[in-house]
Symmetry: D2
Amino acid sequence: MNIRTAKTIQERREALEKETGSSLHHSGHYSLDDMVASTRNCENMIGVTQIPLGIAGPLLMHNAECIMQNYYIPLATTEGALVASVSRGCKVITQSGGVVVEVEDVGATRGPVFRVETIAEGQKLETFLFDHFDEIKNVAASTSHHLTLKTYMVSGVGKYRFVRFVFDTGEAMGLNMVTIATTAIAEYIYKTIGIQCVDISGNFCVDKKPSWLNFIHKRGKAVRAEVTIPSSLVTTVLKTTPQAIYDAWLSKCMYGSLMSGSLGFNAQYANVVAALFLATGQDPAHIVEGSMGVTTTEVCEKPVTRYTQHKNSDLYVSVYLPDLMVGTIGGGTGLATQREALTLLGLKPGEEKSARTLAGIIGGAVLAGEISLLASLAEGSLAHAHEKLARGK
Amino acid sequence: MNIRTAKTIQERREALEKETGSSLHHSGHYSLDDMVASTRNCENMIGVTQIPLGIAGPLLMHNAECIMQNYYIPLATTEGALVASVSRGCKVITQSGGVVVEVEDVGATRGPVFRVETIAEGQKLETFLFDHFDEIKNVAASTSHHLTLKTYMVSGVGKYRFVRFVFDTGEAMGLNMVTIATTAIAEYIYKTIGIQCVDISGNFCVDKKPSWLNFIHKRGKAVRAEVTIPSSLVTTVLKTTPQAIYDAWLSKCMYGSLMSGSLGFNAQYANVVAALFLATGQDPAHIVEGSMGVTTTEVCEKPVTRYTQHKNSDLYVSVYLPDLMVGTIGGGTGLATQREALTLLGLKPGEEKSARTLAGIIGGAVLAGEISLLASLAEGSLAHAHEKLARGK
Amino acid sequence: MNIRTAKTIQERREALEKETGSSLHHSGHYSLDDMVASTRNCENMIGVTQIPLGIAGPLLMHNAECIMQNYYIPLATTEGALVASVSRGCKVITQSGGVVVEVEDVGATRGPVFRVETIAEGQKLETFLFDHFDEIKNVAASTSHHLTLKTYMVSGVGKYRFVRFVFDTGEAMGLNMVTIATTAIAEYIYKTIGIQCVDISGNFCVDKKPSWLNFIHKRGKAVRAEVTIPSSLVTTVLKTTPQAIYDAWLSKCMYGSLMSGSLGFNAQYANVVAALFLATGQDPAHIVEGSMGVTTTEVCEKPVTRYTQHKNSDLYVSVYLPDLMVGTIGGGTGLATQREALTLLGLKPGEEKSARTLAGIIGGAVLAGEISLLASLAEGSLAHAHEKLARGK
Amino acid sequence: MNIRTAKTIQERREALEKETGSSLHHSGHYSLDDMVASTRNCENMIGVTQIPLGIAGPLLMHNAECIMQNYYIPLATTEGALVASVSRGCKVITQSGGVVVEVEDVGATRGPVFRVETIAEGQKLETFLFDHFDEIKNVAASTSHHLTLKTYMVSGVGKYRFVRFVFDTGEAMGLNMVTIATTAIAEYIYKTIGIQCVDISGNFCVDKKPSWLNFIHKRGKAVRAEVTIPSSLVTTVLKTTPQAIYDAWLSKCMYGSLMSGSLGFNAQYANVVAALFLATGQDPAHIVEGSMGVTTTEVCEKPVTRYTQHKNSDLYVSVYLPDLMVGTIGGGTGLATQREALTLLGLKPGEEKSARTLAGIIGGAVLAGEISLLASLAEGSLAHAHEKLARGK
């Protein structure tokens, strides 16, 4: 018995445990450690909310270090058809040779706002930050061994100046860490030059809100993922054509999104990001940031043979997620079922580059979701096209 | 023993069951009905993800029908301090006489995109929609008893036209329903005038993506909630002053958000929306839409007595959430633990106006979260202010 | 001697006067009527700024009433190459059979903001507007014979409510008119229900600022213009290919604009809008609104004959300008040189539908500018492509 | 006779010539040098468009080098009341001790888009830019003595990568210069690593379109200007109160702008920017970028004496314009009337820091416009407030 032939949930869990060598004990039982959860994750706790956990894949991925690997994707969801949809995308990606992923460590950000009384005082703050960046880095470092201040940018209006501090927080999503570090920096600034922080988080972070600043400057991990699907697989697995998918994409993800003033030029990032975030213990409020991004498609024409004019068209699809706040340690990642999902992905809490790999897997799974949904939309309109052609006869 | 004196999770659950008369059986045990969940909510299911469930409140609310009621707010979260933060907000709201809530039934939307070859054909589509709106309503109605087409708007560029259909879907969030209805409408249009739908969902809905269209035109339920907190409660419960909260709000929710090109002019809508959505079985990808919105604060000066110049300042705080996609039936609302959370709020699945009430409660809880976080931020900077004054002596 | 063979500015002016039967007397002499201008248009006047005026075209247009007509396009500009660029676009459009234009009379808008103390008072305002819309229309109508209130929409946060009133202002751009009408409406509301207007223009108009509200809801005139250019003309006149233009457009007007959070998904609307606005006496601050909009391109494949697989590709190009605030009477349209430019276009001040026609002409000229610039950009990269192919041999 | 007592346009011009020592000969006569204009600024020229030119001020300014100076502001406009409005603002600023201005030399930008076939090729481009930045700077420098490449940023989706090059272009606005330099850079990249530029301007510049990228990253000159107006001047000159102006500002420039998804959180930047741009020969299409920005106001409470509780309130007002594309040489600045306007401001073409000073003056004039319009709006609502108080008796 294997994951495909399994009939019941228990059989499927056992097959998966066997195939991946990981344990799924807690996912099958109520076993949340109340003491831990109620201390670290939730005050006034009364129990748990249970969310169905499904498995998509396997997805063949070339990870950040270019090692190919198959991943089963854990998706916690209540939306029927999502797991099936991602699975179809995984199938066509894997048969196409796998997804190539690029992950950029942007860093966690905090954007405190400071009060200045004049333009001159604003310049004083800017000068201080520039001249004392090394000291400020030390102040930040003194608050945690797991954190490094990488860079910053300044902006402001009227009597307020915003500083966006960018931190490396290792394998943790790190928001608590950077809040503590930023508080220490703000103290240091206040003590040294008397300029006061009004809000330690001044919405210049920008935390858990859609924003062009995060879209343009990126936050957490920025991920690109791409695949070229041979024409034949588009036909057989996705039941449509590269051109039909392109048309569906152009009208929806370009025209539709821009006509509605959206920051999501994609089909369904939020669905896949949500399911993976919940399964792996990420902060669900960060789904907001993960919903931003851009899908592209392209019909790649190529002669079938050098002797014919006739062309065969492959389909290139890519996703770009500029703002994934993820980690493999801290927050909800330590809870039993969430930890099992991370283990299923081969990720050990806090292990080096594990957060990068997690971000890459999310990118790959999101790509699978895009391909599958765009194919479904295209198939719908394709039906009409066929019908129209038939009537044309 | 009551909810406040309860020490363990089990005691707390029992106290809550006693006080509200609702059952919390499933929240305390692994008891997801695998058959139901794996059929309706999740393919290839292997178990569950467990998320800690805490209780904030009680929150005194004047609901849509202006009946005052106390609510315990169920929050599924892994973010430490969130429940405590919302609870503090609930406390100060309740002591201030409760939150007033306004809920507008905007409706679920679908935005299909149609292909036209010329400007003239685009006009033909617009004319058809206008002239045959009654027939189109009937087509929609024929797909479900639970759905009514309310209105539509048209836009478009080049050879594409977008139609945003707005539906009343009763107590369900209704996205599946409106997809089916929109498919039928698209069929009807195609059969009648030969204009083809390219994507049944053309990102003019706009589903699960941040967008100015939804912000401006609203979607699902649009909610306003407001409270005026007496100066004395700001001091005693929130440990800060109305003016300090106002300053924290102005710099963060106005200046910070606009300087970062955000659609979230608020402190932490996403946190509270996420926790309530997960607890009550809403689609977590809709947190994206729920993160948009605007918090306002105002210091209301009033003479303490008619004989003194001295003024006392109350604090007015409001929230505006233009886009809450919620329901009490369908999706994840039927799962055992999620159903319990709805029951705890006194909501019966599909009961008339239950979705409105749920939206109102979310508005009230979001307001509680805003007050509490802004007070914390203000308190931080207030500490400095005091220090500064002290040094000034 | 005609417009093409003219060598000097005077010869060109005379040829144009002869061909179009309009006078260009003032454009050739300092002849601004100081008394008029200093009374109506400019306080503390000291003279004039002179801006070079060039002529592009002729442009063959199917205007709103589908009557074909040739237009010479007056462009006041200091940017070398602009007139030549628009002329090239006009040439290829005209040879392709002309541009088809659609103009929608959206209307001038004013968005006052009202102060309410509670949600209930906000509802009172909404109810009043709904119940007394006829009275409000009468109030508006009483302020001018040239103005009709068409519709409105309401929004708001906290203690503020915004109302966007939409007016038909005939052939005038009408902003002064609608300000007066809105002031009267605000007076009426205040006197009747005691709710006070805080700003008669509350940036919900939205006047002279880029905004998604105007993009989505449109303002003034909304214009679409389209043309299909035969493959052969793309090659001979534009010196490039349909596919190269498509690639230039996709990367610039779609990807480039969305990656930069722009509201202008186009190549150079602002240049052409500015030159036509200045020439015809429109308010130059409205260029801001005219810069928003979307260009689309499409390669239309068609078999050359029924016997060959070989395909020939035409190029479809369209523009969409949702927000053109224009008029043929009032503001700067009465100044001598500006009036001459309007006359050159066959537009009489205030004549019925003259503002529509002007908007349509702007749409056509903007289309010409887009085609020409995209072709230039494409030609640049095409050079490389050829080079690359050559090297590949 | 002086500028205030002058009755006719000629008298005013003469008085201004006398007071400032500059010539206004051309502004009073049709004297455009046809040969020059038709060669450099406008093809197919047929004459000129004449725009009334008025004078506001004097405005007392602390310029970038902190030298106080009075400026008469030349405004080319057809909008009645604009000059008067700016003049009133200048008066109150000057009487308050003058405006303080901060100008940042951000630089002119070009954002070409490159084609890559894979993620790996994209990384190759990024690496090349990083490793060969010095060579690229040299390539840029080789195209003009007046230009230096300062920095760059990279972004991209799918098979496209955008590079935003930032240049110092001295006293010229410099767009033509940076296009030539960017073309040379693109050639160099193509020849060295074979990666091709698709559009030399890929809307990542972002030129003449509203965009969050320019808002956040700034472009050209970024300007802040601020003033604190004593309470007494608000009353006597502006006929309103600091609090009323604050209320008008909060509801309009904050709430109104954010509710409409605007990038202009201000009252009327576009009006003043347009009039100054036209008068001084800037590119009118850049008004679009100049319309973005943020006005702030603040009521500064201070005890009148140490013995009273009674407080007097001053009014702080600031403007922030992140994107002013201006120069004192090139483009339309060489035309006779435009040159006169620059000379009137004491600016010599191409003189060091003259573009900075021009940007600062624009900032100061924009501040004057904001103060005046907000005061007018406040005065309107203030009237009601008084009336209400009266009725309350």
